[in-house]
């Protein structure tokens, strides 16, 4: 009889403890909700709390906020994304003076290959473009460009890593392109979340036509650029618009749409990436790419700055 009683009490204790734990977790989850409205401080807290929640769910939707139970079960969740590599194909458009806003320039069938890193901020975009209107029966020869940016340096390579080793390609300065190339890095979905987190109190969250919108300024070289990111129903970054306050930098006014999110890695990472990227710059279409594969496993990707580029930048 006594043994049965002890068993019953033990079971009750387990149940009560479980409920208490759940209640504690629920309370902890709600602890960031404001208790009063009206005062400016409370409004600021409300927005801060809303921003934090929104960025967390957006980070999780991308697979950016992660922790591991394999030997790391007592560590907090962190932003795991540093380097990644993207392969895609589609169409890129040249900018034509004659084009009216909204009209595309000349179209090129394009193989797209980008390697990038956020720490340090760097990106290498390799485009192999073939004119869709081939002038001869044999068709136009594909044109390859390799555009690189790292921090405050931008250059073009004649081959991957050109200009780093004597006799192995060249690196040509392209310092005027730094802002534009860096912008491509920060308007990718991962860059948007990272930059919004880094912007701190300057990041705001609102609702427009039932969708969540995040707005924030970029920093450093791109400090005069405002970003407006729209989330879809799965909290994935669906649209990114950028506007520069400087009229001379209208090239930085862009609009990019991201759809068809999935884990596009050969090695599964649980990092989601858009399967379709469509971008306009100053109202003109510039890119329409289908992602074929994306390696998000922090692969070995490096962006050393060639000595001749450093020298040019120093002057």
């Amino acid at each position: 009889m006594r043994a049965t009683m002890i068993k019953v009490l033990a079971k009750r204790a387990v149940v009560i403890t479980a409920f208490a734990a759940l209640a504690f977790q629920a309370a902890a989850g709600q602890s960031s909700k404001p208790s009063a409205a009206g005062a400016a401080d409370d409004a600021a807290k409300l927005n801060t709390s809303e921003v934090a929640k929104t960025l967390k769910v957006a980070a999780e939707a991308l697979g950016l906020a992660r922790w591991s139970g394999v030997g790391g079960q007592r560590l907090p969740e962190v932003d795991v994304i540093n380097t990644m590599e993207i392969w895609g194909s589609g169409t890129t458009y040249g900018l034509s003076q004659a084009s009216k806003p909204g009209e595309p320039g000349p179209a090129f069938k394009t193989e797209y290959h980008a390697t990038l890193g956020y720490n340090p901020p760097a990106m290498r975009v390799e485009l192999t473009r073939t004119s869709s209107g081939a002038p001869s029966q044999g068709g136009a020869a594909p044109q390859q460009t390799i555009e690189v940016v790292r921090d405050k340096y931008a250059w073009d390579e004649s081959e991957i890593g050109g200009g780093l080793v004597p006799g192995k390609g060249t690196a040509t300065p392209a310092m005027a392109a730094v802002d534009n190339r860096l912008l491509q890095l920060w308007i990718l979905p991962y860059g948007v979340i990272k930059a919004a987190l880094a912007a701190g109190d300057k990041t705001k969250v609102s609702t427009e036509k039932g969708t969540t919108v995040i707005t924030f300024p970029l920093s450093e070289q791109l400090a005069n650029v405002m970003v407006k990111a729209t989330l879809d129903a799965q909290n994935e970054v669906a649209k990114v618009e950028t506007r520069s306050e400087n009229p001379a930098l209208s090239d930085l006014n862009t609009e990019t749409e991201y759809t068809d999110y999935a884990d596009h890695g050969e090695i599964a990472t649980d990092v989601k990436s858009p399967g379709h990227i469509v971008r306009k710059r100053s109202g003109h279409p510039v890119l329409d790419i289908r992602v074929k594969m994306l390696d998000a496993n922090n692969p070995y990707l490096v962006f050393p700055v060639p000595e001749n580029i450093k020298k040019v930048a120093a002057h």
Partner: protein, 316 residues
Amino acid sequence: MTPHFRFNRIIVTAALLCLLPAAIFAQNNGGPRMDHENTLPPTPTGPTPMAPDGHPDLTGLWNGLADNLLGVPNQMHNVGIEVGPDATRDIHSGVQIATWPLQNRTRQNNEQNERAATLLRRMGSNRPIYKPQYWQRVKDFDANSNEEDPSNNCMPAGVPRMGVPSYIAQTPKYLVFVYPGQGGLIATATSYRMIPTDGRKHTNLEDLDGTWNGESIGHWEGDTMVVDSIGFNSTSWFDQLGGYFHSENMHVIERLHRDGNTLTWTATVEDPDVLLEPWTTTPRIALLNPDSKAVLSESLPCSERDFAHVVTKEHH
């Protein structure tokens, strides 16, 4: 036996095999647990014992935070990611990394845990800079490390991949470093090194047969022990992760500095055949085992017990 029952047994067996590496991680040969709450460097306490020759005495069991190669926290520390309770920093670049508190974590299954661990171990910015003609090779080695890793099949990790020794014995004329082997999927053989500190010079490189650990000679620079190694084979990789291959001309300089109950280790790799510039690891700081009576327990037998079950390129 019904087909349904047999299928269930296969599922259960597969699940147990998936859990085996985690179970081995948890065991850690009976040593201190490795699932730390942070990857912050331990704060030195106590005096630094001195040897009769006036130099610091490095003797001790340096596994107070468990074997330095094991567990996600140690591996993140090794690549320079300093995780605190609510802030994370990349030591090499100084960049702050977004961090979310422990209590707000989302649940993950075993596969998600493994995939996250792969990303966490590789997120550091301190990477060796190879010549461009080798970039793709390094990337391919890392992507295919389940097949390409030279330490698979119970081979040695080699210098400097083996990292901080778990045990050091210091005598007036030599040092002995011991590195316990590991079982499971990350299976490496137990290794030791006997490092002369008697002032001798290196053998001519041409006269050395390349080996996993090379020829190591130690000397003091102030209170820091500098271990200089040459004469390697070109088989090993020089860091735990990343596919970082090297040539037979690799030259490694390790530095060990004791401060109370902590030991700071770095390794500089010079290999002008494949690297654009020398590369130095982010400092790894080991903690003296707090149990003064602790001994280095026997390593699990090295066997590739899980290797036959690897069917994808997912890393571990």
